[in-house]
């Protein structure tokens, strides 16, 4: 009904929902690592980019689809564990601001390595392009990837909720996110809980890489850079302190930009980023803990 009022067709609505789902997964990936390390990983998009290049190369070499996806997962997970070991671990004692600058440097480093390796024109990942074709559901053409994205995101969410609530690793992660020092005193192993958070975050990056390459088959070194910036904004607006609010923030910003980007004419949607980031500033000033956080839970200190 809302869709009819705003003059938005069902297809745009479904696409916006799918984009929101993908962004929600990225938000979880960023939020999990933030929970245990208090580190905003600016280089998250470059993990996605690496996975996308793996897919593109696999399709160029003529590998079957499953092998390409396997390669993508392997590359992203190895890279994220390496990132944790080489950069994050030595910096653990530093302030969040220093760590943010460090991940900024890593992001640029990875992006320019990709530029050196693959050139600025990028590569095309074609192996999954059949998902671009539409299916008709009660008279509405919806691309298969839209449905796949929503289903995959829902499955990931369920798996993650089970993991966090029903397993020991999940319990440790939640404890570490709440109070790292106390958790360690009670016997949670710091390196293991951080490694598992980084691992899950890498898995999610790989899944996002697969879905984003279907949506945009042309993979360039700045692939997923814009998405990461927008998701980071969404995570902050939602509230970094709790995984649920970060996820909601990621979903909301993806859904809103998908909807507005699809519905507004170009001469209005070009200023969309300005409004999104102005909203980020306003939220940071008024509710530093985020829109979806519980009141009285400020994630950031105010002076």
């Amino acid at each position: 009904m809302i869709a009819a009022v705003l003059g938005i067709d069902w297809r745009t609505l479904a696409d916006a929902f799918a984009l929101g789902s993908i962004y929600a997964l990225m938000a979880i990936g960023i939020g999990l690592v933030f929970g245990v390390l208090r580190l905003v990983n600016f280089a998250y998009g470059q993990l996605v980019m690496a996975g996308a290049f793996a897919l593109a190369l696999a399709s160029q070499w003529g590998w079957p689809v499953w092998a390409g996806i396997l390669l993508c997962f392997a590359v992203v997970i190895v890279l994220s564990l390496l990132m944790d070991r080489i950069v994050f671990r030595p910096l653990r004692e530093q302030s969040p601001a220093v760590m943010l600058v460090a991940t900024f440097a890593v992001a640029f480093l990875l992006q320019s390595i990709a530029l050196l390796w693959f050139g600025s024109l990028g590569k095309i990942a074609t192996s999954l392009s059949f998902l671009q074709r539409p299916v008709t559901i009660s008279g509405v053409d919806i691309r298969k990837i839209t449905i796949v994205a929503m289903v995959v995101a829902a499955c990931c969410l369920v798996a993650l909720v089970l993991l966090l609530n029903k397993t020991n690793v999940g319990l440790h992660m939640r404890a570490a996110a709440m109070d790292f020092q106390t958790a360690r005193l009670l016997g949670v192993r710091a390196n293991r809980v951080i490694a598992s958070a980084v691992l899950i975050s890498g898995l999610l990056a790989a899944i996002v890489a697969v879905m984003l390459t279907v949506q945009t088959p042309l993979v360039t070194p700045d692939f997923a850079l814009r998405d990461t910036i927008v998701v980071l904004a969404g995570v902050v607006v939602g509230g970094m302190n709790r995984l649920v609010s970060a996820t909601l923030g990621g979903f909301a910003i993806g859904f809103a930009s998908g909807l507005l980007g699809g519905a507004l004419p170009t001469n209005q949607s070009q200023y969309l980023p300005s409004f999104v980031f102005a909203a980020v500033i306003v939220v940071l000033l008024i509710r530093p803990g985020g829109l979806f956080s519980r009141p009285g839970q400020a994630a950031v200190d105010r002076v």
């Binding site: 320019s112 904004a233 200023y271 940071l284």
Partner: protein, 337 residues
């Protein structure tokens, strides 16, 4: 004693800037550009240092002041006769006015300061991660608006027909001005108060220092310097919104971090050292002759090297090459600035 130390803290960075400018006069015309660029970078990094170094608050947003300064100086410097061709949608006042080189730089600095004041009024309440994200949002908004709002500038197209007045002399003098301003600020009452809030916010507030007001003063001054540097930049090369965005933010922050965030000496050393490495690699990307053969790196090597350097410095020596200390006279003293 104290006066000598203060003089050394000023003369060290100034001597380094002058040396770089003099070295620039000795080289070929094409290499000279790298030296001019390095001096403009000094101005930008000193502006960054003035706020980040003294306040301890991170800012990803300073390139917005550089961009706005470049837009201001650029739009005002293009001759009136050429404006309709390059910027057909310009507002009336901007369309009919053109000013000289020095006034355009002064206005760029004023606009930078005004913008910093408007932004700083709400934003200076934030610190830590929140400040980082909020200033990043400022960069995104500024980039987005400058890119599409053709009433105030060329939009996506590259700035052309701006008189190229930033030579070695202008860049050198400007870098010295930036250094002197930063030095004067950090030795003033305001600079000392702000550093007190950086080192111990609770104690500073307890003795009645307004953290918010001190940060705002530094932010505005730093915005003025950044706008000024932006003016220099547009008078040096044809810029567009993309050249005043993420890459410049990254490289100038890298310069500050590599040199040492908490000292003026570190800012100048970092800016010149990284510019040197960066220029050499930029040359090498086009093929450069060295004793024993030709170096030929593929495009993109620069950022890989600078990014790796920055990550290494952050991991191995978080206080930067200079250790974040000012230049001293060579005998160990208690740190005093």
């Amino acid at each position: 004693m104290r006066r000598t130390a203060a003089a050394v803290q000023l003369l060290g960075p100034v001597a380094l800037v002058v040396a770089a400018a003099l070295l620039g006069t000795l080289v070929s015309r094409s290499t000279e550009t790298y030296f001019i660029n390095a001096l403009v970078n000094v101005a930008i990094v000193v502006a960054l240092y003035l706020f980040i170094g003294n306040s301890g608050v991170l800012s990803f947003g300073h390139v917005s002041f550089v961009a706005l300064g470049a837009w201001t100086a650029g739009v005002l410097s293009v001759p009136v006769s050429e404006k309709p061709a390059i910027m057909p949608h310009l507002a009336g006042f901007l369309r009919d006015t053109s000013v000289g080189n020095v006034p355009s730089l002064a206005i760029a600095a004023a606009v930078g300061a005004a913008y910093a004041l408007v932004l700083g009024l709400p934003l200076m309440r934030l610190s830590g991660l929140a400040a980082g994200i909020a200033t990043f949002a400022v960069l995104e908004i500024t980039h987005n608006v400058l890119r599409y709002w053709e009433t105030i500038g060329p939009g996506v197209t590259t700035f052309s027909a701006v008189p190229e007045t930033t030579g070695l002399l202008q860049a050198g003098v400007a870098a010295v001005i930036a250094v002197v301003v930063a030095w004067a600020y950090q030795h003033s009452r305001f600079g000392r108060l702000l550093r007190a809030t950086r080192d111990d916010p609770a104690a500073a507030r307890a003795v009645g220092v307004s953290v918010y007001r001190q940060r705002l003063i530094a932010f505005v001054l730093s915005g003025a310097l950044a706008g000024f540097a932006g003016g220099l930049y547009v008078h040096l090369l044809p810029v567009n919104t993309e050249s005043l965005y993420l890459d410049l933010t990254f490289i100038t922050l890298a310069m500050l971090v590599i040199g040492g965030t908490t000292s003026l000496w570190g800012a100048v050393v970092g800016a010149l050292a990284v510019s040197g490495v960066d220029s050499f690699l930029a040359e090498a990307e086009n093929g450069v002759h060295v004793p024993g053969g030709t170096l030929d790196f593929p495009a993109g090597t620069r950022i890989v090297v600078v990014g790796a350097l920055m990550a290494l410095v952050l991991i191995l020596r978080p206080s930067g090459l200079t250790g974040g200390r000012e230049l001293g006279l060579g005998f160990p003293r208690r740190a005093r600035i």
